[in-house]
Symmetry: C2
């Protein structure tokens, strides 16, 4: 078991559970006192003031590969090279295993970029603005702008109406969109549902913005009744809203039209800025026929999406598109770059645009549509099998995120790399997740679960609060 | 000539210079009206209210590679694959050329990562904290922590005293360091010399911090007399200071000891936070014997350095190290990641730590020391040759950035990818910049220059204001 966990290289020895840490999580403490623990349990604070144990991952300190100063005769003996080659080969093997057992994150691991291998050793950097060539010539802006045009078209903006760039990750897209919102409405209040990505609340703190958390429905969508109540309390200040096009945990899609309606009916017409966090579903939704459209034809300010998720890039990246009119206020020219500074980061990975360009060209709208359909089909398959087996589970419409009862064993969670929160876990069905992989997972889950619950002698927890009574299959709600 | 510019793929036709744009730079305007311009000239505003033309790079719109929807029969004909392979092959050829002619940016393009090629197709992501394993198993934290330990040791912090992570670029390091400073002193004022990297001023704006620009000496170093004057005006608020370990344009190293002394003598003892922006020289200085030491034994709060510069990673990255005591205030636990959120970005490129680990292991302290010596030697060689040829130039002690008269021809600037500001340009001598490459550059420069100045009939500009009278070789100062 231990061998299949983590990097597959280290026997971590003891299997004892870590002691709960004191309230203030102190990683130094962890380093010193918990060198062999499999995971760290800390105490998280709920909004209502109660506290709850949450499980953090293992302390990496115990398994890191030290950098060692070469010996004087290393070049002659070749020992150093051999040592490094050995570490890398074992690491590669562990990556194969870890990639095979991956289910919890919305990363499409099904890609073949063999055609790009000869570009990997160039130091490609798109520092500065995508549309203005910097003096550094080893860049890939030609690909980047092609990719941005494609996304702008997808979301309903003309070439001369948009500005955007390829980011490092979903967080950078959110940081940028919310910053643009703040520059448009400097005294605006940031509204975001409590199930928004943590980067949204980080942005509020970084940018010193007033932030109001809005309640959610059981599905995970923003609760517009609560939203209205909170808007009415803050009528004097403009609203900056983060809309989730797929929440992180439940894959719930906020109702953009209802949010706009709520704003306009409550005196916020022309006094709001909407950022759409489409990290995952931003690229899936356009291909689902019955889905409400995310488009700049509606009064939104920016949309972001991740490139390493549904698209399947092997490096973290994302796309941010906003209205060109918004960006002039934000940017300043940087002479020594011979470019403009309107991005959050300075140096920007120039390989990511090539990966994206390559995939978009190969798959096209039609290719993505087929993959989205496959993901939704397989997600339904998983949810149906779970329900058949008596396991409470939920699948939002428009979503490929299947939420279900949290497995009771942290090793199993780690083995399958499931993302967990409280009593629930989720599997995000990406194009690389086949029915065979799901069957393999289900077999293991059902086998283990019969031990956890002693073949039905112990009853599983009630999940009504997390996934609703209709989806819960606990003793009470399965009747 | 055109063939060697940019991506080498497009003949841009007309060679006419762009008309100066109106004061407010409007990229939309550029897109519509300047499709064939080689560069954009905009008007920048100086601090004293005067304005000055600055040259921006070419508009990328004119040469981008469109993403096209595949035809229905593409898979059968193979035309799409052939088209893409053609674009990529030509692009690769242009990268070879652009890499060969690169002098202006501090990127070490001398690396061989062949041993890592088999890892390139894994989606390696270190999302969350480096020290706490997230549930996503395809990561490289084992390498990341090894690299961080190495840097912490270099800068004088023990394993249990530091926190840090591998960033996406120098900007992320500065954004993080300054954010930590602001969290330590929420009402602190940010001080930075006017030659600091633009990301420092961007941070002030993002974080809504009061920011005071400090004057510089001719060398580019912070002027501590002016610093003192500005401190004294703001005695009531703590100070957060950005120190440049190598300014971007002149490669000047701020005098850390004098800055600390100025703070302590003016009533700021225990009321300041210093972030050291060591994007380039942060890793070179430790290997220069006579250089003042950047170390956490002195009262500094954080240091950042870039990984794609001196170290020579093929992807933009950097390292940020801070004191562990500072980070607890900043971070919060993110349950669904099973990790902690103390980084600026969420998803983080997992390939970068492996590149760094590989290079540090191969080169070690001794290897870096040799390379630093070579860079300093070659930088002196370049400066001496320029002076011999009657070209005003400057090389700061401890620096491999040679500043000199700006070439009069933008094509030449672009060809050699020089970074320019006002009347000056610079070459940053990195390990991949050999004497042969410098000689090639010098030959071209001298040949062109004799045309620009009509073999001495026109006199070159005076650079005394930029590089000092001693280094200027204009008609007046060469006597």
């Amino acid at each position: 078991m231990v061998g299949s966990v983590g990097n597959g290289l280290m026997d971590l020895g003891g299997r004892e559970k870590a002691e709960p840490l004191p309230k203030e999580f102190d990683p130094k403490e962890t380093v010193d006192s918990l060198p062999h623990s499999e995971s760290n349990i800390v105490v998280g604070k709920e909004e209502n003031g109660t506290s709850r144990e949450i499980v953090l991952g293992r302390n990496v300190r115990t398994m890191c590969f030290e950098v060692k100063e070469p010996e004087a005769d290393d070049e002659i003996t070749g020992e150093r090279e051999a040592y490094m080659a050995g570490v890398l080969a074992r690491y590669r093997r562990s990556l194969v295993d870890r990639t095979k057992h991956h289910l919890g994150y919305p990363y499409n691991l099904d890609f073949d970029y063999g055609a790009l291998i000869h570009l990997q050793h160039f130091s490609i950097n798109n520092l500065g603005d995508p549309f203005i060539e910097s003096n550094y010539g080893v860049h890939s802006r030609q690909f980047e702008v092609g990719v941005l045009d494609w996304f702008a078209r997808l979301w309903g903006l003309e070439k001369n109406e948009y500005w955007g760039y390829i980011t490092n990750c979903g967080t950078e897209g959110n940081l940028h969109g919310i910053l643009v919102g703040r520059e448009v409405f400097p005294n605006g209040i940031l509204y975001a549902s409590k199930e928004s990505h943590y980067s949204v609340f980080k942005a509020a703190r970084m940018y010193r913005m007033e932030c109001v958390k809005v309640a959610t429905l059981v599905s995970g969508e923003i609760d517009c009744t609560d939203f209205k109540a909170k808007l009415v309390q803050n009528k004097e200040k403009p609203a900056i809203i983060n809309i989730n096009i797929g929440t992180t945990v439940k894959g719930a899609v906020d109702d953009l039209d209802l949010v706009i309606q709520t704003l306009e009916e409550n005196g916020f017409k022309d006094r709001f800025y909407i950022h759409c966090d489409g990290a995952l579903f931003g690229l899936m939704m356009p291909f689902v026929k019955r889905a409400p459209k995310v488009t700049f034809k509606k009064p939104i300010g920016s949309v972001s999406v991740s490139g390493h998720k549904f698209v399947g890039c092997p490096v973290p990246c994302g796309v941010l598109i906003t209205r060109l009119t918004h960006i002039n206020a934000l940017s300043s020219n940087v002479e020594y770059l011979a470019s403009r500074d309107a991005t959050i980061m300075g140096s920007r990975n120039g390989h990511a645009p090539i990966f994206l360009w390559y995939t978009l060209n190969r798959k096209g709208y039609q290719g993505f549509q087929k993959e989205v359909q496959k993901c939704l089909r397989n997600a339904h398959y998983l949810k149906d099998r779970l329900k058949e087996a008596g396991i409470g589970s939920m699948l939002n419409e428009l979503s490929s995120t299947v939420v279900f009862e949290r497995p009771k064993d942290e090793d199993f969670v780690r083995q399958w790399q499931l993302a967990c929160e409280g009593n629930i876990a989720h599997v995000v069905v990406m194009p690389n997740v086949t029915v065979e992989k799901l069957d393999y997972f289900l077999r293991e889950l059902l086998e283990k679960r019969s031990h956890w619950y002693q073949e039905g002698k112990i009853s599983p927890p009630c999940l009504a609060a997390e996934i609703g009574e209709d989806n819960c299959l606990c003793f009470l709600h399965s009747k």
